[in-house]
Symmetry: C2
Subunit: 229 residues, 2 copies
């Protein structure tokens, strides 16, 4: 069984975006710890199957970040379920999940399903608009969400998502320092090895997403953050 | 340390209601397993302190069910925090809690704080109106909420609340049979030993509340459900 707590670096691939075989090969043959398949818009059963079958040829852990029920399918090592704690709409906290439990709960393997205390912090991101996330958070709010993740819900992961912009590492640090158990994932705006290093100094795991599509060479370089450890 | 999982019967006392010393003595000297202090309306720091100090003379576990921050205080053995899973308003799922974590999180002892997957099922109850709880639930909804309590949030207790009316024991049974870990509390409309027996056959712990104020003799009789075990 793969140990998520050992992951330092992961790539997130968007099933709605195109990636050629050569780039995908480089990404999957890099020293990254895992691949997450996930996106916000136009995630369908069809494009998830396509991408999964291409990535499955490589011997590394494969995660599906659930974005909707239609595109959720067997065949992944883990399923990440974002519980958007700073959304005022219960739909994104546990409403979609409730529907999933009603329909598939009896056949779900909860050892593969990783619930995440998820904070959406870039107000301009699609996911922030969709979830109406309250992104204007002070350090004390971040700490309260970290306690909620750790002590109330006991989720194994807190995911800090700044999709589209490089985040405030002091906020990430506040979460990291408050958490006693949960592991911190950071994603958003990592566009160079320097960003990657800055994020990896604070978060347990960094997630490199858009850069794969914008500049695959730079994306591959971010894996170097692992060399220090 | 008290073991909540061994509790079969508890009395819930409302700090906003009057109870004379004689009746309180009988309640506290009965074979009940614990006293919960909690209510929906007019719960204040003052009336909670009053009632706590009166019950504290007796050597049995004392729980505060949190209804608002103003009336929350040290001195209890446990704090029950209802997370109303069938409320569409995040306020009652974790919003009030978030404020509490912001203000008091750094000094909370999480060993004393028991988070509960709470379902409010009597549409006419004050708590249902206040939380806008979606009470019209089918068995499959109850099962999904039970999975959410057990497998997603891993709360130790699922609390099924029918305040003011005796509930549908088949719904309680559906929860009980779905849960692998969490303990089922049932409260609502227990007005005789027969009701108490019916509820105790399905739930792990029954909560007798209003009956204390309506007919203390009948209330005391409900403790007899413990004799079987």
């Amino acid at each position: 069984m793969y140990d998520i707590k050992k992951w330092k670096h992961v790539f997130k691939l968007d099933p709605a975006k195109m990636i050629n075989d050569e780039d995908l090969d480089k990404i999957c043959m890099s020293e990254t710890d895992a691949i997450i398949i996930g996106g916000t818009d136009n995630v369908t059963e069809d494009n998830v199957i396509q991408l999964m079958s291409r990535v499955r040829r490589y011997p590394l852990p494969l995660v599906l970040e659930i974005s909707n029920l239609e595109s959720t399918m067997p065949g992944f090592d883990f399923y990440f379920v974002p519980m958007v704690l700073n959304s005022p709409d219960v739909t994104y906290q546990n409403g979609i999940l409730l529907e999933a439990l009603k329909e598939y709960g009896h056949m779900m393997d909860f050892d593969e399903v990783i619930f995440q205390g998820y904070l959406v912090l870039n107000p301009d991101s699609k996911v922030a608009v969709k979830t109406q996330a309250q992104t204007n958070l002070e350090t004390e709010d971040i700490e309260a969400y970290a306690l909620m993740t750790d002590k109330v819900y006991r989720f194994p992961i807190m995911y800090i998502e700044y999709s589209g912009t490089f985040g405030d590492m002091e906020k990430v640090r506040a979460a990291k320092e408050t958490l006693e158990e949960a592991h911190v994932f950071y994603g958003g705006g990592i566009s160079s090895i320097n960003d990657a290093k800055a994020a990896a100094e604070v978060a347990d795991t960094i997630v490199v997403g858009n850069l794969v599509y914008e500049d695959v060479k730079q994306a591959l370089k971010t894996v170097k953050i692992k060399e220090k450890s």
